[in-house]
């Protein structure tokens, strides 16, 4: 199974960067009603794109499914919607979990789930030649400078070094 579960963060961030189309890298995306409500209830970036997209399948998670996850990772400071996503990952035996939430990524690791962030999606698009090196650099610059994802924009230098290394045979 190649199921991919998605949190609100990548939807918001890639929409802010006008890169929502990069979700076409994945055949289908799954999220929960709680996360869907977060995205669509308020006028958050990505609301319109997500509503238009036929790619996102929304799942209702039962309280008992969430509670099972809560028990396994009770030491993490997570919201109800976060637990619903982890429960969905378990339910679908997800291959990937797309989120930009640091605490959620750490919790997912405890559950042996693989997580990727918006940054990973941008670089995957570059690898697949959907974005040129220049477009990738611009997207990463914007991700580091427009969003409040990272404490220091200097971390970008590390990414660019890795990208240039990856370019070399």
């Amino acid at each position: 199974m190649n199921e991919v579960v998605i949190d609100a963060g990548p939807i918001i961030h890639l929409s802010q960067l006008k890169l929502f189309h990069l979700f076409d890298l994945f055949p289908q995306l799954h999220t929960t009603t709680e996360v869907w409500r977060e995205i669509t209830r308020f006028n958050l970036p990505g609301k319109e794109e997500a509503e238009r997209s036929k790619k996102i399948r929304i799942h209702r998670i039962l309280k008992k499914e969430k509670e099972k996850v809560m028990l396994a990772i009770k030491d993490f400071r997570l919201q109800s919607a976060d637990f619903s996503l982890l429960a969905l990952c378990n339910k679908l035996v997800a291959h990937a979990f797309l989120t930009d939430d640091l605490e959620l990524r750490r919790a997912a690791e405890v559950l042996s789930l693989e997580t990727q962030g918006s940054l990973g999606i941008i670089i995957r698009a570059y690898k697949k030649k959907w974005l040129s090196f220049f477009e990738t650099q611009e997207a990463l610059n914007n991700l580091f400078n427009i969003s409040t994802l990272y404490l220091s924009s200097k971390l970008l230098n590390r990414v660019l070094t890795e990208l240039i290394k990856g370019e070399k045979p």
């Binding site: 990727q116 670089i123 995957r124 990272y150 220091s152 200097k154 230098n157």
Partner: protein, 84 residues
């Protein structure tokens, strides 16, 4: 921009009942603290400052967060560039 700042100052004056000069002094103090914190984080992110020194200046929480961000960034880059 200037108008927005003036409006904010007026609002703070109204709600906190303090003088404009006190508001500006506090804004400068808070702004400088934020800039100082950012400068330290940037130095640490670039590897120009030791972890020990960064923890001493910023406390363990922020340094731990930045380390975690770095770890996930590397993970994302490797996944993005992989043939998976």
């Amino acid at each position: 921009m200037e108008l927005a700042i003036a409006k904010e100052i007026q609002a703070i004056k109204k709600y906190r009942k303090i003088e404009e000069s006190d508001i500006l002094a506090e804004a400068l103090r808070l702004g400088l603290k934020q800039l100082w914190r950012q400068a330290i984080l940037d130095e640490y992110a670039e590897g120009k400052l030791s972890k020990k020194k960064a923890i001493k200046l910023l406390g363990p929480e922020l340094v731990k967060r930045l380390d975690e961000e770095k770890r996930f960034i590397i993970k994302d880059v490797r996944w993005g560039l992989s043939d998976e």
